[in-house]
Symmetry: C2
Amino acid sequence: MNTNEDLLSIAALGGLHEIGKNMYMLQYNEEILVIDCGSKFPDESLLGIDLIVPDISYLLENRDRVRGLLVTHGHEDHIGGIPYIIKQLNMPIYATRLTLGLIRVKLKEHGLLGSAKLHEIDSSTILEFGGVSVSFFRTNHSIPDCLGFAFHTPQGTVVHTGDFKFDFTPVNQQYAELHKMAEIGKQGVLLLLSESTNAERPGFTPSERMVGDHIQEAFHQAEGKIFLSTFASNVNRVQQVIEAAEKTRRKLILLGRSMVNVVEIASKQGYLRLPDGMLIDATDSDQYAPHELVILCTGSQGEPMAALARLASGNHRQVSISPGDTVILAATPIPGNERNVGRIVDNLFERRAKVIYGSGSVTGMHVSGHASQEELKLMLSLMKPKYFVPIHGEYRMLHQHRLLAEAVGVESENIFILNNGDVVDLTGSVARQERKIPDGNTLVDGLGIGDVGQIVLRDRKVLSEDGILILVMSMTKSGGTIVSGPELISRGFVYVRKSEGLMDEVQRLALATITQLQETGANQWAVYKQALKEAVGKYLFAQTKRRPMILPIIIQV
Amino acid sequence: MNTNEDLLSIAALGGLHEIGKNMYMLQYNEEILVIDCGSKFPDESLLGIDLIVPDISYLLENRDRVRGLLVTHGHEDHIGGIPYIIKQLNMPIYATRLTLGLIRVKLKEHGLLGSAKLHEIDSSTILEFGGVSVSFFRTNHSIPDCLGFAFHTPQGTVVHTGDFKFDFTPVNQQYAELHKMAEIGKQGVLLLLSESTNAERPGFTPSERMVGDHIQEAFHQAEGKIFLSTFASNVNRVQQVIEAAEKTRRKLILLGRSMVNVVEIASKQGYLRLPDGMLIDATDSDQYAPHELVILCTGSQGEPMAALARLASGNHRQVSISPGDTVILAATPIPGNERNVGRIVDNLFERRAKVIYGSGSVTGMHVSGHASQEELKLMLSLMKPKYFVPIHGEYRMLHQHRLLAEAVGVESENIFILNNGDVVDLTGSVARQERKIPDGNTLVDGLGIGDVGQIVLRDRKVLSEDGILILVMSMTKSGGTIVSGPELISRGFVYVRKSEGLMDEVQRLALATITQLQETGANQWAVYKQALKEAVGKYLFAQTKRRPMILPIIIQV
């Protein structure tokens, strides 16, 4: 690292050209500040992988310089990596009360709560790290207690928006600090990092209140029990469900671990107002008439093990859905989840429920938590940055966000579309982008963090498509005589009992291959194995158009 | 099969509670008529499977009664199963000219063209099969030359709509035969089978003409080359691309095998009007200025090997995308394909192309080929059936279609939501649903048809998630002494060189397990193997939270 005085650097360790795994860093000379530490789910090519977290090699190499992790809000794509990263680098964590509450749950699960260094902040906090002073502004999003950051350095101010939208009629009076943002912009912003999730969407994202209105309407019309499924972390939506329940005199049952957790944390901390006596236990549901009950549950993305899926298939022990009950899916299926959500709707209709489902823009039961194009322009207009780095999103989103920035007057050459690991260096308030730091995906598989690499994944892919065929034989030490085998063992390739002819033929071919090699004088087992792989592989492909993994095993006796 | 005189039966062998794999049958006493023979793609749980086609056990059991296969139109979900099924049961095939052309391509690929029995029909054909007379009516859909069927039996008329929409301004004057439908309805319909794909969508599906208007507008505005990607089989959309090219004096290049095939067949048969000299070869593209070219290509669903994906990543040998070129994705991504389509859009933006992408309802570059709710009600109103069976679709679609039928006056108890294999029997024009015939998925994997079953798939699943750990040892015949091993071979589980400690421990555990069993007097290898699986599996799960397949191999020496 260049230790030249007054070097200000910005980079992403995750979150660019992807959705999720957000992690950014700001370095001012010897001080490194980290922003967020998210996870993301693997796509279907990463077989068996549970989670992806950022590769923090750069931070580990510079561990003495890392001053802390500042967290914008409590969603998984911003906090999900914390337990895995903290094990490697136990930096102090700064976050608001609710965010910290959610981080604590994670740390506890990983047995890290005792050793973690947690610091509660709010939007009025000022933090000082060497030459950098950090102030905060409150934003609106689909979880309460979100912050944007302003890093004040001698070179100028760097702003990181976090996830945001502008909701002028927020639930629970969680107003965004519009005037603070304006003041920061007025004082001058050197560089803005702003989120791009909805940069492809024209217009203005509707207020969360709109969902509340639709929920109330549905509650007034419903006759039997009401089931509503949404993201547990959307505390403001949960609040609106509670209000609708209050108005229609229904008791509330919570189903699903994360729903119970979040409601407990949020109501303890005062982010959720829960009338006394409204919450009842699922086991007491039979003491109430159907029209006296609302069941708020997890599983709105069709997760097969979550409460809604179990309710839909009639496998919930305590509560059941009866004909005429109303089920509201207060969420838009995330691409990839449509099939699972669809299956649940099918099951709900088979139980003769009334189902409100589909995209939020059609049903009015969901709005995004992210700024659409007009709101992104509003943020850009408030901040009036000299330099702009669109963050959070795939290339097409970053590209669209660039177009928006150009439209409101940011100079084209002052907009940087970065890759993870690309560094923007600022000296004398002038930016250039020339160097890279290490970045990457750390794969979590069970208890293993980063131990599954390309070879293991490639093997899983081959195994998943056509299985494995194992040829076992024993030979004398000299390599001259086959004592037993080849025996064939197949898994995931063909059902052996139905493929005896094929297996006999492979056995014959294997023997012939070895014999032929021996005649040419070859006696190394590696040569035998390679020849068996090729001959058997070729034969099987010709016969079946499949390419199982061929694994010859030769045992010396 | 009941051979009672005058028994009319209807059943689905595919297409109910699913999208794709459409296959229906109508049996009148001894005559069986089959409708469509589609395929569908496997979901991600069917690892390594290429295609799913219907299980036709029932037809094979009754092969002497099967009179023919009548095909509604040439989409994969209606013809994709034909080569696989014809190998088992070579029934005569009846289809319109274009549909037959597409079927011929498939049969040729499978070497079945010589033996197939193909009969060309059009909407004026009347076919007679024993007591059943079949007449046809032309419908609108996203491929030309589609038919609905009317089966006239002594008990009454059964109508099967095939896929349809109502397009009052069709391209190429392919008007739906509305008056014929009205006449059939007027004469009385005993039972209607009508497609449900868009039964969840309110309103009326826009005309394909709307897409043509948007294509023309985009062509007029474009400055460089124009790339447009759509479904090759949407001949009418291809026609509109040709017309827009003609108006803007551009030459046409076709990329992608299916695009070339379909344009060739459709223009030979007169379904496509291609001006002389418009079509040029991709290798001649450098003889024209960018504004003189349109490239029509496959790959609108993001298929990684198709023309558009190769163009987007700069890997096409003959044509390249330059900054300022226009790329139009004239398709809505089918759920599951968003990620691949998104990746292509990212790549196109990186090449600085102008990209028109997103859902057709936003860009106007795509309309559905299926009837929305008002059109489904129109069909129901025209046919006025006594009995109604919604077909083609998941349960939620069939359910919504039922609600539409009730709304237009079909008696609730006369609507049957069936499963594949459920039979509706009609005697004396009265329907009941009490029995089942065999149905199911036949899985195609490479050259194997139906040979991959639950065991193989379960093994693939285990292998894909956590790989395999093989323990090989040799033992004396008596089972008393381990001669060599246990050696460990791991694939897709952990990278062995980085997990030596774990492997040593497994080896030690395996030895201890065998020794312990021997002390209790056990000497059967099956017992040893089971004990090894359990002990090693348990140990590895505790250490890694992974569950690889454990495969002990004991060789006798």
